[in-house]
């Protein structure tokens, strides 16, 4: 067993443990000086990235990998044949790998950006400590296979995000946004804990695979499902629970917002995992024993589709009347979340039963549902990159002009050429213009939704056009127009920020020009890992199905 095997075996634990160790060490390291601290943070995150690359290669080639904390055997088998878990288990499949890759990309780029963006601020040692803990919590949420562990990481991400949103304490709005965020997200997390207790009372287990194996969908399970879905969709920012999102995104420092996007997507991943794996028997099974649950799956699917459409419309319309740059982008982020939930809803709503006479013969998903799921998963990474790039541009403008209100800007394209180019690319990508990455995923979503219901597709396309209109307004009022007197001596932002934005732009262009590269290599495996949930269960509970 050589060292590479050992690292691959322990990488699920190390991916969480290394940034955590770095976060604990940062207050001590920052006593030396600032340069050492910045290098330390970057190096630790790079080590995490290398570990993620190793684990991702292993998982994508050899299948699911589990890690038991504290050792011992994975599953305890009683003489009576009961099989369950005692210890915490990390179970990593392609979906986890997909999310973790997004998170680490956003984290490293955000750190590189904040190295030059936050240079003049004070309290930076605490800043980097909390950022590392936030990245740790996001990675943990996306890697864990244990419900209570998921709750713990949820709370960590809630607390650290709140502290980072309130970083500019001299602005009252930042404190207000942070308080609103922590109030609603702590209440949602408490409801999540209540639902967890309900599931524990039913099955005396906290492991996702064990519960998913034994799920019965009794009344108590339905209550638990409702509470968990409500909490996690709040975390993801679905309408009408979206109102914390523009506040926090708009008031946090842009480098923080770039990492907060990853934390939001972690809540979204939780919704994916709960719907498709934890309640897989209900929403995902084609076993005829669960024929009476198809109507429940369709109902939840249509509810999600309706909420997603409302999300898209409200996000775009509210973005149209905003005058604050970052808050406007926050509302467009809400709209993008709506597109992702549209895919999940179409997947669930397209489940149907084949009847011969009066007896059910088979349960199946329509063939466009897989395309909807692919588009939805592919849109997650596009959403992160596009919205993130726009926030970085907003931060660059704030860095150069100390302005966020669109009314006071104008004529910035003369002095900030690179930033203007980056903003144009982000504009076209987020509004789904070819050949950028937003177009491919949105096209898949449109095509699959059209076969479910054409009206939904028409609304979504119109909303996408409105999204373009919103950003044309921003582009006109911020970059175009005659040169302002007070912006005569505005300089281009420093190199670090340009490098960060350029990296995102390069990724966007590659994803846009070669969408199959992404879809074949990470998106399709992730969708497969979500759809056949039985492999997820049988990996940790042998002998099931």
């Amino acid at each position: 067993m050589n060292w590479f095997e050992t690292i691959t075996m322990h990488s699920p634990a190390l991916i969480v443990a290394v940034p955590l160790l770095a976060g604990f060490l940062t207050p001590l390291v920052s006593r030396i000086n600032d340069t050492v601290r910045n290098l330390f943070v970057l190096i630790m995150l790079s080590i995490t990235g290398i570990l993620i690359a190793i684990l991702g290669y292993d998982v994508l080639t050899n299948g699911i990998r589990t890690y038991v904390f504290g050792g011992g055997n994975t599953v305890i088998t009683l003489p009576s044949g009961l099989m369950f878990h005692v210890r915490i288990i990390f179970e990593v499949d392609s979906m986890n790998i997909f999310m973790v890759i997004i998170t680490i990309i956003l984290a490293i780029i955000g750190i590189v950006y904040s190295l030059s963006f936050m240079k003049k601020e004070d309290g930076l040692d605490k800043y980097y400590t909390i950022v590392l803990i936030l990245v740790t919590s996001t990675l943990g949420m996306e890697l864990t296979g244990d419900l209570f562990n998921f709750f713990v990481f949820l709370e960590i991400s809630c607390i650290t995000s709140c502290a980072l949103i309130a970083f500019w304490v001299h602005k009252g709005e930042a404190l207000e946004a942070a308080l609103k965020y922590i109030v609603i997200s702590s209440i949602a997390a408490l409801f999540f804990l209540f639902a967890l207790g309900l599931l524990y009372a039913q099955y005396n287990a906290l492991n996702m695979a064990t519960i998913a194996n034994a799920i019965q969908f009794s009344i108590i399970d339905q209550a638990a499902l409702i509470l968990i879905i409500a909490a996690l969709t709040m975390k993801a920012g679905l309408v009408p629970m979206h109102m914390w999102l523009p506040d926090s995104y708009g008031e946090a420092p842009p480098s923080i917002t770039f990492i907060l996007i990853a934390a939001t997507q972690a809540g979204l991943y939780g919704a994916f995992r709960v719907i498709f794996t934890l309640y897989g028997n209900v929403f995902n099974s084609i076993n005829l024993a669960y024929v009476n649950l198809v109507i429940t799956a369709n109902t939840i699917g249509w509810v999600l589709v309706a909420l997603a459409i409302i999300t898209i419309i409200i996000g775009v319309f509210m973005a149209l009347i905003q005058t604050d740059f970052k808050r406007l982008i926050g509302f467009t982020a809400v709209a993008e979340i709506g597109y992702i939930f549209l895919g999940i809803g179409v997947r669930l709503a397209s489940k149907y039963v084949q009847y011969s006479g009066s007896s059910a013969t088979a349960i199946a998903f329509s063939e466009y549902s897989s395309i909807a799921l692919n588009g939805s998963i592919f849109h997650i990474i596009n959403d992160c990159l596009d919205i993130g790039l726009l926030f970085l541009v907003a931060g660059a403008i704030y860095y150069a002009t100390k302005e966020t209100s669109l009314d006071k800007m104008g004529g910035l394209a003369r002095n900030m050429k690179y930033t203007t180019v980056f903003f144009i690319i982000g504009l076209l990508a987020v509004s789904g213009m070819p050949p950028f990455n937003g177009f491919a995923s949105k096209l898949m979503l449109y095509e699959s939704t059209y076969q479910l219901n054409p009206i939904i597709t028409i609304i979504a396309v119109l909303a996408s056009i409105l999204l373009l209109a919103v950003f044309v307004k921003v582009f006109y009022s911020a970059f175009m127009g005659p040169e302002q007197q007070k912006f005569k001596e505005v300089k281009e932002v420093p190199k670090g920020m340009l490098i960060a934005m350029g990296a995102v732009v390069v990724i966007i262009i590659i994803f846009g020009l070669f969408p199959n590269l992404v879809i074949n290599n990470i998106v399709q495996p992730a969708a497969d890992a979500l759809t056949n949930y039985t492999t997820y269960i049988s990996k940790v509970i042998p002998g099931v199905i």
């Binding site: 005692v86 915490i88 605490k126 209570f148 960590i156 970083f167 009372a201 108590i220």
Partner: protein, 89 residues
């Protein structure tokens, strides 16, 4: 009594009804299944050499949760110290 309060009261009572309905389904004093806890109680002395089953779970079987818990306290302290830092305006 504004519209908002009326809506709030109605949804509040609806949710309360459903919660009580859920609570009446549970069984108090007699857990339906207890295989995991029985395993822990019977094996805590041999596997981890501890007399206290709760401490065994907190620090050994589910020690990673406790690490996250310590991380939460750490993050809260760092956040409070960051919020109360001296800002030079």
């Amino acid at each position: 009594m504004s519209t908002r309060n009326i809506v709030a009261a109605v949804m509040f009572s609806v949710l309360a009804v459903f919660f009580i309905l859920t609570a009446l389904m549970l069984s108090f004093g007699a857990p339906i299944k207890s295989q995991m806890d029985d395993y822990i109680i019977t094996h805590t002395q041999n596997e981890t050499g501890t007399n206290s089953a709760v401490t065994t779970i907190v620090f050994d079987y589910r020690g990673f949760d406790t690490l996250g818990e310590a991380t939460i306290l750490f993050g809260a302290v760092s956040g409070v110290l960051m919020i109360f830092r001296r800002v030079k305006k």
